[in-house]
Each structure stands twice: as C-alpha cells, then as structure tokens.
Symmetry: C2
Subunit: 316 residues, 2 copies
DNA sequence: TTGTAGGCGTTATCAG
DNA sequence: CTGATAACGCCTACAA
C-alpha cells in the first residue's frame, strides 16, 4: 500500500474517515485557545439543591447541551462574598456566557463589571439587579403577588400576613408591592406588624414567623408567602396548634414546588416557569454572543399562573 | 520614570503585581492544551432535579471548587442512549475525571471503555455497575434494606410489601435481598405478589402499586419502598381510601428526602449520605488522577441509618 | 540561578 | 480555491 504513486481524493477522504472512526477527536481546547473562547456557559445560583433551582439547572443543562455547550455550575449559598469569588473563578476560566440568579445578600453588582467589560454575555434570571442595564429574564412578580393576594381576598380573607425575602431583592420588593396593592384595592389595611422579610425564607423562619403571628391579639385569616418552604411550615405549625387550614387560615405559597402536593392540605402556589425561564436565558446568551454589535439590554417577562389547591379554598 | 537605568527586583515585582491587579489572568486553556488535561470533572446523573441527586451535585460542586476544579453536569434522564451520548460528549470535551450514577436502563457499560482506556479516572456512585472492576462509592444497600424491613417487623408488621426499581441495578437487587433476608430471618413468607419493581419508581407508580396492593384479598400491614417518592404516594393513596398510617399500614421509604417531613404522618426512611458519598468520589477522582501508576479499583461502602418517624411507629 | 526556544492542536491569514 | 505558516499562551527542557 505504501508505494502507490497517485493517491486519489477518494483515498484521502477514506483516510480521514478512518481517522475519525479510530479515536480521533477534535481538540476543543486547542480550538478554544486559538479562537479565544470556550464552549462553557457558567451558571451561578444561590443553591443547587432546591426544587426551583434544580429545575433551572436541569433546563439549562438540557438547552445548553442541545446547542453544543457545557454548563459549569456554582453556588453562592446566598452569600455575597461567595458570589464574588465564583464570578471571579468563572471569569478566569473564560466562560463564554453566564446565567446568574443573585445571592440573597447581594446589593451591589461591581463584581460583574470585568465580565461585562470583557464582552461576555450575561443574562440574569429571577433574582436580578433592578437598576442595572443588563439582560434579564424574570416573571411578573408584582402581578403574581397581586393575583395570589386577591385570590385570598376573594376567598374571604380580611387579615393577610406576608412572608417575603430581603427587600433589596427586586423579586421580594415586587411581591410585597403586589400584595399591598391588592389589599389597597380591596380597602384592606396594610399592617406592618404582619409583614415579615426573612433572611433566606427557610423552613425554620416560616415556623417562627407563624408562631409569632398566631400569638398576636388580632387573629389572621390568610398568609401569602414568597416561597413554598415557609408556607408549608406555616401550615404545619398552624395545624400543630389546632388552627384549621383553610377554614381558620388560608395559605398560599410561591414557586409551586413538589411539596405543594405532599402537604396536607395541598398548598396553593404561584407556578414558576423555571424551565422556560432558563431556556430563554440560554437562547439569549447564545444570541448575544453571536451578534456582532452590542445587543441592547432587554428584559423578558414571563407570565405566571396561580395554582389553586385546598389550602386556600374556603368557598365553593 | 522612563530612563531609570537599573531596575531593581522590587520594581519588577511591583510591575508583576500591577499586571495582576490589572486584568491579567492565567490562561487555563493554554495550560490545558500544554498539559493535555483540563480542570473539569464531569458528573453524569439520571436527573438533576431530584432531591437526592441535587444534593449529590451540590456536594460535588463544593468539593471540586474547593480543590480548584469545575464540575460539568449532564443528565441521562434514566435513558441508556442519552447516557452513551453524554459519556461521548464528556470524552470529547476532555474531562479530567468523571463521576457517574447510572441510568435506570443501563445494563452494559461499554460506553465507558474509551474513557477507561484513556486513563481518565471514573468513580461510580450509588447506581454502579456491579461486576465491573471500577472505583465505586456506595452505601450498604443490603444492610439498609434489612434494617428497614426489620424495623417494620419489630413494629408488628407481618405482611410487608416492597417497591423496588429495575432489578438489573445492583442497588435495587441488594435492597430486595435485604428485604427478603429480613423476612426469612423472622420466619415470614416471601410473596412475589406483593413485590414490585417499577420502571422509575415515580409518584404515579407508587400510587398504582398501592392501589393494587390494597385491593388484594389478604391485607398488608407494611410497605418498604426503595425511594421516598413512591412511599409518600403510597401514604397519600392509603389515607384517601381510609387506611390509617401507621396503625393499619406502616410505611418506610429510602433516601430521607425533605418530603419525609412534609407528609403526614412524617415518613420513616433510610438516611442517604449523599454529600459524604460525592465528597469521597471527588477525592477519589483526584487521588487516582495524581497517582502515577494504576490505582487498584476499590469500593468504598458508607453506612446508613434508619430514620424512624411516625409512619412506622406502631408501638411505644 | 535565570533566561529562552519549542511545541501542544487548532484556526486564521496570506500567498500561490 | 487550495495549501502552507504563524500565532493563541503556557509549560518544559535545556542552555548560559
């Protein structure tokens, strides 16, 4: 085979094909070095092991892989310092795009500057920096909270407490605003005494807030919680002290986590389109990356739906 | 400043420091190309958005990042074909190590061969290939199932059903073996009629198996389920048809997912040391990688503890 | 000790 | 349009 004089194109092709069939694999590292960009999309979230966020990650992984990209995960544990470290690590590892949901603590956003200056596409999802001119994919938290609160009012609730998160986070500010506006709209008073803003809205916080509320002189008849974890623990505590759900106290949560169907009675909640949200975020990252010139920062707002279950059904 | 003749070492250091302070960053891609290996550990799991697995991922991310590595995630969705594709993608992206928990469907393991030949460290966790001589981190499924079943027997159960997963997966085979041996040990009969092996042990499967069981002529008094999802749905169905838990039917699950504390009554379960498991797996990957010569494949077995809650407490 | 040349495997560029 | 060549930035090895 060695001395054949003229090697035809067909042969060359066959050789190449063979090379591929044998273990040849394109070295994407060399390609990255030469092209000065990787195939890795970073994803920075507060926690990995929470139902809403693990759905975000699951969706991101699927969307990214389908487009030929990897997803690098890191978690801030809701700490601002961790977030800074993780962003730096992503910057140094030269991710080609970043999807972020902010740590509860985060109030300033300078740690993203280098990445932004560098031209790396960043898309914020869910927990976003309100006043920064960046790409965002969010839900209409105001409308969702308004609808959830209104639903409680329609079910006959007249004194509704609210469990929120850190107020500097837009999503919690907006949820509170929606809650307050729904009360106002129905001529119900806003009472600071029954509005809480937890540090992380944990199960434990939910329990403590509920214990406090149920000890107040004027009785509650509703709770709108900004997550399901706190709402579920509110139900558990209330039941444990003989408060009947929803007859005495109607409770609605947020996110529509799987636990909504486990708790008794099943928990009404605001459905969160996590998978749609992150699929769009991945698309945005890739679109921004591909486009030659600067893409104007845009905010994409997704609709939500209140999912009504027994925990709020006091009528028909 | 320009014409200073002799530039001292201090100055040079200062210059270097400045370079770092300005945007200089080590290019890990160039380093990877040169060293012929990346800093990315692949992680292949059936699903991302399940409590047990999202804890695995969370632990892996933390352990890997602490050691200076990234984690690349992909999910097989319990499909063998997806698993093959994902392993191939990892191979081509030149991960420096891989942590795998097998897809429910997977019965053969040839798709890992190229990675193994290539010398890439692979550590299997939880759902492992039984007869392959590879690195594994597992729990003692046999002992866990034995203890869980024995606990039911001690609580007075005499006719205990079992919900398992695909029998070609060692973990489910071992859990069944532990269940059967505990029955035998206490001179209880093994009845194939009340032993099920679901495709994925979903909520829906749990419900259907329970409905079937409760329609059998001879009544059950216990269920040992190989996961919590099916166990929780068993409880919900049983309650819905007036079967009292645990008085009529004691139920114990597996994994100790957060839903164990949400369901009423709280679900007894086998605690799964997911975070320890994956932390060890990351350590193993790095250890194998560093060691010059071939490391003998070893299996690390972690202990489990039965977490007893109301769903099985029929005595004292 | 300190300094420098070469090559990792691509891709972009430029010459033919 | 095809084909050769340099450069991406780091690490290793060898020379001074």
């Amino acid at each position: 085979m060695q001395n054949y004089p003229s090697i035809g194109k067909a042969t060359i092709k066959a050789v190449k094909k063979l090379a591929v069939d044998r273990g040849y694999r394109l070295n994407s590292i060399a390609a990255s070095l030469r092209k000065r960009e990787t195939n890795n999309i970073g994803m920075l979230v507060p926690w990995i092991n929470r139902p809403f966020i693990s759905s975000l990650i699951s969706g991101a992984e699927a969307a990214a892989r389908a487009a030929g990209y990897n997803v690098l995960i890191s978690q801030s544990h809701d700490s601002h310092d961790n977030e800074i470290d993780n962003v730096k690590a992503f910057f140094e590892s030269r991710i080609c795009g970043l999807i972020v949901s902010l740590a509860m603590e985060t109030k300033d956003y300078e740690h993203f500057d280098r990445l932004i200056e560098n031209g790396t596409p960043i898309v914020f999802v869910d927990r976003i920096p309100e006043h920064l001119d960046v790409h965002k994919v969010i839900i209409d938290n105001y409308a969702a909270a308004y609808k959830a609160t209104q639903h409680l009012i329609e079910q006959g609730c007249r004194r509704i407490a609210h469990f929120g998160g850190a107020l500097h986070q837009t999503i919690y500010k907006e949820r509170r605003r929606g809650y307050e506006d729904a009360l106002k709209k129905h001529d119900l008073p806003i009472d600071e005494e029954i509005i809480f803003h937890g540090d992380v809205l944990s199960a434990d916080e939910g329990l403590k807030m509920t214990a406090h509320l149920l000890n107040l002189p004027s009785p509650l008849d509703g709770i709108f919680s900004a997550n399901d974890t706190a709402a579920v623990n509110a139900i558990q505590y209330a039941k444990s002290v003989g408060v009947s759900i929803p007859a005495d106290l109607a409770v609605i949560g947020f996110n529509n986590d799987p636990i909504c169907l486990i708790i008794d009675p099943p928990l009404s909640s605001v459905g969160h389109p996590a998978v749609d949200m992150v699929r769009i975020a991945v698309q945005q990252v890739l679109r921004i990356k591909k486009s030659e010139d600067e893409v104007i920062a845009q905010t994409i707002t997704l609709k939500t739906k209140v999912v009504i279950r027994t925990s709020t059904l006091r009528k028909g």
